[in-house]
Point group: C2
Chain length 455, copies 2
């Protein structure tokens, strides 16, 4: 099911989609029957530029960047301690909640309000209540913050499975979500009894745990009518069979598509004995040998659209390329680039679907910005006597068009890079997409989808 990364043909295919995408919907219906919401986790203009430079050249563009409608979305977050005070950097929980449920909340919250924890309905729940089928596709655990925001309601994103719940002596986590306390249980437990028709991603280990009644979440899901598959063969076998389905193709986050040659990633700058800066060795991106047999995001999206496309009254599908963020946290530009490529490939599947089903709204956006920045190498000020170099980690990537792109990761000294507070882009195509324009709030996207669907 995996596509061998063959970059040039893909770039050409991308150009074909561009041509299709550039026509702003002459035959666009007034109301959308279905909606597909793509989230590139941690994607901002800068992360897009990094991936574009590598994959398509500095003059290239991803399919969705030529969609007829585009806007900037402000990422709004508030303090949990005082929700009247803005915080200027969000996370996948607050960003996911803004898109999924239309509310501005505090970091770490999953479809609940800051301060009081009140649950807010998500677009998947509202769509299901209106008779539409719903789905989630992600390269992370399906219990991770972004997908969770569309299906669960909990105060802390880290309560992914029963074993994450509190209180424990060392780390009391989500006591209010314990069923014993009248709660809905962990995210996996909530998914197991949800109305979502299809979930594909990682995170099996959160389901392979016992809940408060010593029943496994897998069993809870089966009791609630879900079939569970764990590999591509299982997915192929089930094709066309009716009913609710969970596909979990790994224990946690799925392996990424690309890595740096010899696992190259950003490193602190090193110096010669005379104090001069050593040029970091440029590297290329290669297939991740640990990718295994998991389905690609493209393949999962294709499967989801085939399945949900049979819905009598349309569907709402959320598709996330999750590891753009996770790889940026780790200073791994090739991981970011490969997962952005995966996002574009999945969007192209959706665009093809939409060619056949023009009453489909496609949105592509992001939950928050990220740390990686393209910088000059050598420094703009390299002619000065003292050495000029970035204080953070640096990676130099040899691009497919023959250049060398230097990427700086300068937001955390010790551990993982931080999110940033930049606005994020929104791209849209199809009925209702015309309201994606100018400067929006991230939480406006919820209304864009609901209005497009007439809900």
């Amino acid at each position: 099911m995996r596509n061998v990364p063959s970059v040039v043909p893909w770039a050409l295919a991308s150009a074909v989609v561009l041509a299709l995408s550039a026509t702003p919907g002459a035959r666009q219906p007034a109301v959308a029957r279905s909606a597909i919401v793509f989230i590139g986790d941690g994607v901002d203009d800068h992360q897009l530029t990094i991936a574009r430079n590598y994959l398509l050249g500095a003059g290239g563009g991803f399919s969705f960047e030529y969609f007829p409608y585009r806007a900037g979305a402000r990422v709004l977050t508030v303090l949990e301690s005082d929700p009247s005070i803005p915080e200027y950097v969000g996370d996948s929980a607050s960003g996911g909640t803004a898109i999924a449920a239309g509310v501005v909340t505090s970091r770490g919250r999953i479809a609940t309000r800051a301060g009081n924890g009140q649950a807010v309905p998500t677009m998947l729940e509202l769509a299901a209540a209106a008779g539409k089928w719903t789905g989630i596709v992600t390269t992370s655990s399906v219990t991770d913050a972004t997908p969770a925001s569309f299906v669960a309601h909990i105060n802390r994103r880290f309560c992914q499975g029963p074993d994450d719940m509190g209180p424990t002596p060392t780390d009391p986590r989500c006591p209010e979500a314990l069923k014993a306390n009248g709660g809905l249980g962990s995210i996996a437990e909530q998914i197991a009894v949800s109305d979502v028709d299809l979930l594909l991603g990682g995170g099996y280990r959160h389901f392979d745990q016992l809940d408060e009644s010593r029943v496994s979440v897998v069993r809870r899901a089966r009791d609630a009518g879900y079939r569970l598959v764990r590999d591509v063969a299982g997915l192929d076998a089930i094709e066309g069979a009716p009913g609710k389905l969970i596909g979990l193709f790994g224990d946690d986050t799925l392996p990424v598509e690309w890595v740096g040659e010899a696992d190259a990633r950003a490193r602190p700058v090193e110096f010669e004995s005379d104090g001069s800066v050593i040029d970091p060795q440029p590297f290329r991106c290669v297939d991740n040998p640990a990718f295994g047999s998991r389905p690609t995001l493209e393949a999962m999206t294709e499967f989801a659209l085939e399945r949900l496309g049979a819905a009598p009254d349309g569907f709402v599908l959320m598709v996330e390329s999750a590891s753009i963020d996770k790889q940026a946290h780790q200073g791994r530009p090739c991981g970011q680039i490969g997962e952005t490529r995966a996002l574009d490939q999945a969007v192209r599947v959706a665009a093809s679907f939409q060619e056949q089903h023009p009453d489909t709204l496609i949105l592509v956006s992001s939950d928050h910005g990220h740390a990686a920045q393209i910088i000059p190498w050598p420094s703009l000020f390299a002619s000065r006597a003292e050495p000029q170099y970035p204080p953070g980690k640096v990676a130099r990537v040899r691009t497919l068009e023959g250049g060398v792109m230097t990427v700086s990761y300068g937001t955390n000294e010790n551990y993982l890079e931080e999110h940033t507070g930049t606005q994020v882009p929104v791209f849209a195509r199809g009925p209702g997409g015309e309201s994606v324009r100018g400067l929006m709030r991230q939480s406006d996207l919820f209304g864009v989808v609901l209005r497009a669907l007439g809900l």
Copy 2:
């Protein structure tokens, strides 16, 4: 002539302009008579978000962000040593040249091609040849890279005045531009004999120098028909008088509008004796006490539009807020914010002009991205045992809406922050603006302006 910064009324005024701007030109003429091109030097989505958060709140927006047309512009640059190879970070010279002359060149070049140095005509030159009046307004020296790209042709941006020219024993600079070698002279010398009707900004010292014939550039400019003023009184006195005009309100870059309280700016993170991170003290932005009596960008734009508005066949005006970049280089968020505010105020003047003259195209864009990033404080990973902190400089700014925004500058350890390679935004309003959509090349903006003007 200076406006006292009174932020709330300005924010309200901004909201009024937003309402005007949001109507996508029902009475929009087919062809533009005039064009006003704004360049926010170093502006990208992230720098806009920083300024917006402070000035208007995280949910606010600048007037131009609600213009009916918007696009992303890829900043393309090539290596001087091999112009077939892309470079991924530009500067004000390559970016200014892309916008002014529609060509992709190497860093440092002013309206000349990479590799061979061939001069390329600029939109101001082409407009003047077609009988339009032309103007340049900037807060930098009028000889600095961005304005120079619209009026001069030289291989190195640093050859601003005769004293910068080479060869010298220590720093051979622009020998090919020496008149003795058949060149056009330094940038100031080229401005002195240019067709530009109006230049307002800084940079007097580059004109107060003797050229190769021991004649001052000021004298050359006067001989070529320019009147020269050096203060607001001089500008007021000349109002309505015909002829070419240069207004130079400082020796070099003009002082910025805002600074941090007690000159606060980004600093390296400090630690307690136990190794824990000390929270940097948040500060506010205040008026720059060294601002002096120079006219604001808003006032210069107003003057320019009054003067050029009398042109029988329309005009092309470039307005630059130059020190957004310069302050970002220095890790001064308040300087960036104040100069972004100045940009917005100047754009509002142009928007008002356009309300009266709907056959005017307004473009707002940027030459390249910059280093400042909004990050979380404390770190997203602050709960870990080891201290988590950014390796670069950090400033924490207390916003007008009661939050605290942390800005990281993490691209250069020793001297000035670097430019970045991110795409930049483009906003447009008026006839011809409709071609600003999707993903463009920065150099496409040249064609947008010329086509709008029918040139």
